[in-house]
């Protein structure tokens, strides 16, 4: 199978244009194939007779696979170039070179047979679906990637020219050369840190559930408070209380064991530079809402200045993220790698809410709460119960 285009890794045989036993001319079309890009023809390498085809219409074959054999019968078939110092009278094996049947022996040479037939892929994929891509990495690849700080995910779009479509070192070096021609800026250390955390968190099966929460009770409570807690703090306190009632939902799965939280320490996301920091309020279940306001504000300030003290970061068991401040109504946040839960609070919107008693739609301020969780530790039911409890607490702020 010839290389019928840059980055083409395989082609599907559409039709065999001649039959075994037929005479063909050099350059004559003998097999019609289709790639992701176009339909083309494979031509005969020489004048001769088709000995056999090894392929079938409808199946796909990788570049380089043997499609068949043609026996050269040209009258003046050139013998392979002889060097002055090459052994002359050794009978030679013939694989692809021309053979004079009367003079030379054709000893079948062992070469790898065509690999298992590949199902035609959906057109438009840069890397055929069943191929290895960057999944098999040679030692050289691994070393080079390690050197450059790259991972498999970074090579997701690279089409491989190796066996099974694997990315070879040549493909990789080509990719790097092309990369150098694009505009590159250095990612900040904050960005790299967040990327690393999210990458590591994503190795688990995560799921997200959501519930709308009515913010009116919260806002009323807030207007009567001094100092004024922010909505995120209400959510933080509610989450802390809900978890103190059943902390197993914030446990971590380590192997076949659940590690239970020791202390209800809750973190909350703060945007800082081009990334996110997560300051922590420790034992948030023991501190009434009012008593946390000052601490919360101080932590936000420290976070924005990137001056969080060490006691105020790390070792939290769950996180609050208030992306409503960015105008987002809902999202699927990703928990920190070492946590099972993250609770997201969307922007509040005035919406009509059906009042069954009065039989009318009434305007309320509502926001979506979404809970993303490690689905290995809890399922929809437990997540739903937790979210419902938080909801109940948030709509009865006097309990906080």
């Amino acid at each position: 199978m010839p290389q019928l285009g840059e980055s083409i890794a395989e082609a599907t045989v559409i039709e065999l244009l001649v039959s075994a036993g037929e005479r063909v001319d050099a350059g004559q079309d003998i097999i019609e194939v289709e790639t992701q890009k176009a339909t083309m023809n494979v031509t005969s390498p020489c004048e001769g007779v088709i000995e056999s085809f090894l392929v079938e219409p409808g199946d796909s074959y990788a570049v380089g696979e043997v499609l068949g054999h043609v026996t050269d019968t040209a009258k003046d078939a050139p013998s392979s170039a002889q060097q002055q110092d090459s052994p002359k009278d050794l009978p030679k094996d013939a694989v692809f070179e021309s053979v004079k049947p009367s003079e030379r022996q054709v000893a079948p040479v062992e070469h790898k047979p065509a690999s298992a037939k590949i199902k035609p892929t959906i057109k438009g994929l840069p890397v055929p679906a069943h191929f290895t891509g960057a999944q098999y990495m040679s030692p050289r690849m691994k070393a080079r990637m390690h050197e450059l700080g790259l991972r498999e995910a970074d090579l997701a779009g690279v089409a491989g020219s190796g066996a099974g479509g694997r990315v070879t070192i040549q493909d990789f070096e080509r990719f790097l050369t092309e990369l150098e021609q694009t505009r590159l800026t250095q990612a900040s250390s904050m960005r790299v840190a967040v990327a690393d955390a999210m990458q590591r968190s994503w190795s688990r099966p995560l799921a997200t559930v959501g519930q709308p929460v009515c913010l009116d009770p919260l806002l009323k409570h807030r207007s009567e408070s001094d100092p004024k807690p922010g909505p995120a703090l209400y959510a933080l306190r509610a989450l802390a209380l809900a978890l103190s009632e059943n902390s197993a939902t914030a446990g971590r799965l380590i192997g076949h064991q659940i590690a239970h939280p020791a202390s209800i320490d809750i973190g909350f996301a703060v945007e800082a530079d081009d990334g996110v920091l997560v300051p922590v309020i420790r034992e948030a279940n023991r501190k009434p809402l009012q008593t946390m306001v000052e601490e919360y504000q101080q932590l936000v300030e420290w976070a924005r200045m990137r001056k969080l003290p060490s006691h105020a970061t790390g070792r939290s068991i769950a996180t609050i993220t208030n992306f409503g401040t960015f105008g987002l109504t809902w999202a699927t946040p990703i928990p920190l790698p070492e946590q099972t839960l993250v609770l997201g609070l969307g922007a509040g919107r005035k919406v009509p809410s059906w009042n069954e008693e009065k039989g009318v739609f009434q305007p309320i301020l509502e926001s979506e709460m979404t809970l993303s969780f490690d689905h290995r530790v809890l399922d929809g039911g437990a997540a739903g119960r937790l979210l419902s409890r938080i909801n109940a607490l948030m709509t009865q702020p006097s309990l906080l």
Partner: protein, 321 residues
């Protein structure tokens, strides 16, 4: 003017006999007859008393070489076929190879082993035994692939103060020619890049070099550039040159006429994997003679050991992986 591989060996011996009175040649039929392959033709006449016919006694031939070396001579023992050296194996590996280690007295003997296959040679006139001797500490093993190396490496072998197993290839004797004898040469222990390339490294030696070069020419027509490394010396092996080549190409194919188990190919691959693992973009491969004694019939022999076509196929497989 052109000189064959065999003539180069003869000229080297003539040079040695002329310039060093400690050198003598001892082997069957080497005297008036000039040797089974004429490697010593006319040397007995030119240097009487120093080109001596031996009885069919490889053990005594090699043992006596050790004794002569102890007394300060530089014997060259011509074993008629490498295959017969096993009769004197004990003297090589237990007497010659251990003398320096046990006594700090050097053993400057050179054993010339006409090695490798020719059409119709059969099981006992075709063997390549370099890996067997390389296995024993205390020996230097040379495998010249070119006319120039046959000349310069034989001279250097006899000049060395250690026992050298000089594996000269019988097929190359009359088939390989060069315009001149060399003026200078790479030393024993250094490999040579016989052909620079890019896509794959082939490590080889002796007659296989020429099969590899032929394979490389053919593949070059398809845009595949093989880099061919001629080991020249099997022990000590120039690992640095091999590793540097694999660093350039990422792929390694070893081609040798010897048998697979524990052969030179296995040793090369073992070293590259141990010292250059992160240079490899694909598993290293080897191509050897089949794991049977060497067949007599030319048709059987033609597929028994690697040749350009099978090397091409092996290289293609490697490049496809």
């Amino acid at each position: 003017m052109s000189v064959t591989y065999l003539e180069a060996i003869r000229e080297a011996q003539a040079y040695l006999l002329e310039h060093d009175s400690r050198v003598y040649i001892y082997g069957q039929d080497v005297g008036a007859f000039g040797g089974a392959f004429k490697a010593t033709k006319n040397l007995a006449q030119r240097f009487p008393e120093r080109v001596i016919d031996a009885p069919i006694s490889e053990d005594a031939m090699i043992g006596s070489a050790v004794g002569a070396a102890i007394e300060g001579m530089r014997p060259i023992i011509e074993i008629q076929f490498a295959d017969f050296s096993t009769v004197g194996f004990n003297q090589v590996v237990n007497q010659a190879a251990t003398l320096f280690w046990r006594t700090e007295t050097p053993c400057p003997i050179t054993l010339r082993l006409p090695s490798g296959g020719t059409s119709g040679g059969g099981p006992f006139h075709s063997q390549c035994l370099e890996s067997i001797y390389a296995h024993f500490p205390g020996l230097v093993v040379c495998t010249p692939a070119t006319v120039e190396d046959a000349y310069s490496m034989l001279i250097e072998s006899v000049t060395l103060d250690d026992p050298v197993i000089f594996c000269e290839h019988k097929y190359l004797y009359f088939h390989l020619k060069a315009p001149n004898l060399p003026k200078d040469a790479l030393p024993i222990g250094k490999a040579r890049i016989a052909r620079a390339g890019r896509d794959c490294t082939i490590v080889t030696y002796s007659a296989m070099l020429h099969e590899c070069l032929e394979a490389a020419e053919e593949l070059s027509g398809e845009g595949i550039e093989l880099e061919v490394v001629d080991l020249r010396t099997v022990k000590p092996m120039d690992t640095d040159t091999i590793i540097a080549s694999v660093a350039r190409t990422g792929r390694l194919l070893c081609a040798a006429e010897g048998w697979p188990w524990g052969g030179v190919n296995a040793e090369v691959i073992s070293r590259v994997v141990a010292e250059g693992f992160n240079l490899l973009d694909a598993p290293p491969q080897r191509i050897n003679a089949k794991d049977t004694p060497i067949p007599y019939h030319p048709k059987l022999w033609s597929v028994h050991r690697p040749a350009a076509a099978s090397i091409i196929a092996a290289a293609r497989n490697l490049l496809r992986s």
